[in-house]
């Protein structure tokens, strides 16, 4: 009897352990199922969708009367014609390409690269004076033409140049608006106030630091100035 009583006393521990094991098994199976489900959704189904087996074999219909497709010779002729058309779109003379992301330029002549180097373009700074007045210093993208060329350019400081320095904005023709020798020896105008010019801050070439103009070092600027005539195209991206 005593033995039996003793064995009865041990029993309550067994179901508790069993329940704990059961719970662990429950969560393990659930976690495994969820992992399998995730694998199915992220790997198996995309693989299945990308399998050639799911596509039905196409059956060709009878050719309707009067419909003929171009033969290889015609296709080749069309390709040649289209390729020539595209080639003709690239200017035959000289043109400049400016990459505002890498701050580099590429000068082409007769469709051949003749010079490339670093430049500086717009800083993407938005200067806010108040709620109504602000300026975004960004180099415009697209295709432009050289509108004018000048030597020894003088910078006529716009309003933002004063605002940026915390100075009061002077009248339109105030002498303080004119600065000499800061734009280098040459400047090429792209219109709307945007110029390709030189810089005193050569260490910033290759970086986006300008107010929208394109800055170059003295040698590159001279080459660009000498090469690009008025009317030449400038592609900025």
């Amino acid at each position: 009897m005593e033995e039996e009583t003793g064995s009865i006393k041990k029993d309550p521990g067994l179901p508790a352990a069993k329940t704990r094991k059961g719970r662990i098994a429950f969560w393990l199976i659930l976690a495994g199922a969820m992992l399998l489900f995730a694998w199915w959704m992220l790997v198996a189904v995309p693989w299945l969708k990308n399998s050639n087996l799911i596509f039905a074999k196409e059956e060709k219909e009878e050719q309707p009367v009067g419909q003929e497709i171009a033969d290889l010779k015609d296709l080749k002729a069309d390709i040649g014609r289209l390729q020539k058309k595209i080639d003709r779109m690239t200017p035959g003379g000289v043109y400049l390409i400016v990459n505002t992301s890498d701050n580099t330029f590429f000068l082409y002549k007769d469709k051949k690269l003749i010079r490339n180097g670093l430049c500086s373009t717009g800083s993407y700074v938005k200067l806010e004076l108040n709620d109504e007045k602000n300026w975004v210093f960004e180099t415009p993208k697209g295709v432009f033409t050289i509108k004018g060329k000048i030597t020894s350019p003088v910078w006529r400081k716009p309003d933002w140049a004063f605002v940026e320095e915390g100075l009061p904005v002077p009248s339109a023709n105030d002498p303080s608006r004119y600065e000499y020798g800061v734009l280098g020896d040459y400047a090429l105008s792209l219109g709307s106030g945007y110029l390709i010019h030189g810089t005193l801050y050569k260490r910033f070439l290759g970086q986006p630091v300008t107010h929208g103009c394109i800055r170059m070092n003295d040698e590159d600027l001279e080459a660009v100035y000498q090469t690009l005539p008025i009317g030449a195209k400038v592609f900025i991206y």
């Binding site: 329940t19 199976i29 959704m41 219909e61 701050n103 970086q207």
Partner: protein, 267 residues
């Protein structure tokens, strides 16, 4: 006593019923998702083949060999480039055959980039000439786009009140050398998903940023599809093209393109 214990049925724990129910639910949802997802791909193909221009296309009525199809693709690509060149927009020309990606403006190649690697859905390899022309024979325009970088990295600067507030901050704000993981995705108006991955083999931290970006995109799509499939709806299938190019070039191209760029693809 022994007989009583022997005949008494052990009660099955409630959690076992829950587990079976959950597993059954998983299996049903998984199968439903798989079947409807596959149907979505087939339905997309059928929808394209049912388009009027595809049905009436002469090229679909005769058996063509691979050499002819290749030339046909080349012609379609050039036609699309000419079509885009008439616009004033900076566009993207993707030549998967020659692994070249070009930024173009008015027909002028501004930037030519080598495609390091690309992957396209099997869907594209199953297109007949008519369906190919329907998808790639005209310019596609980018709709929504998602990316790890901003289009224009604008920094806002308050104007100083006087000269004493002006700081020499020019050097500090320059961020051209900043390392950024560049990944972006465009949904084209022809239903194609175009994904660009900037690849930089030396920066492992960037690799994780990229994986995380794509994982969230995939998860978003799966969740969307799953929601539809549990309601017995066929989800929308968007065939995708994934292109790997260098990180710097991916950034330059992304920032150069307008928000809704024109794209032509040579598959």
């Amino acid at each position: 006593m022994d007989l009583q214990e022997y005949t008494r049925r052990k009660p099955v724990p409630f959690q076992n019923y829950v587990l079976v129910l959950i597993l059954f639910g998983f299996i049903v949802i998984a199968l439903q998702y798989a079947v409807l997802s596959v149907l979505a791909v087939r339905q997309k193909m059928e929808a394209i083949n049912e388009q009027v221009d595809v049905k009436l296309s002469a090229v679909n009525t005769q058996p063509v060999d691979s050499a002819w199809f290749e030339l046909y693709k080349e012609k379609a690509w050039l036609e699309t480039r000419v079509q885009i060149a008439r616009t004033d927009s900076i566009s993207l020309s993707v030549n998967l055959k020659d692994s070249v990606l070009q930024l173009e403006l008015k027909g002028v190649v501004l930037k030519s980039v080598k495609i390091i690697d690309f992957a396209a859905d099997a869907f594209f390899y199953q297109l007949n000439p008519g369906a190919y022309h329907h998808l790639f024979g005209t310019q596609a325009q980018g709709g929504s786009n998602y990316s790890t970088i901003v289009k224009a990295p604008i920094t806002i600067k308050k104007a100083p009140k006087d000269t004493s507030e002006v700081r020499t901050e020019v050097v500090a704000k320059i961020d051209s050398a900043k390392v950024e993981a560049v990944h972006w995705m465009l949904t084209l108006d022809n239903g194609v998903l175009f994904k660009i991955e900037g690849t930089d083999q030396y920066l492992k931290s960037n690799w994780w940023v990229g994986r995380k970006f794509w994982f969230w995109q995939d998860l978003h799509k799966i969740t969307q599809d799953l929601r539809q499939t549990v309601q017995f709806e066929i989800p929308e299938y968007q065939p995708e093209i994934r292109v790997h190019i260098s990180e710097a070039e991916a950034r330059a191209i992304f920032r150069a393109l307008p928000v809704h760029p024109l794209i032509c693809i040579r598959f």
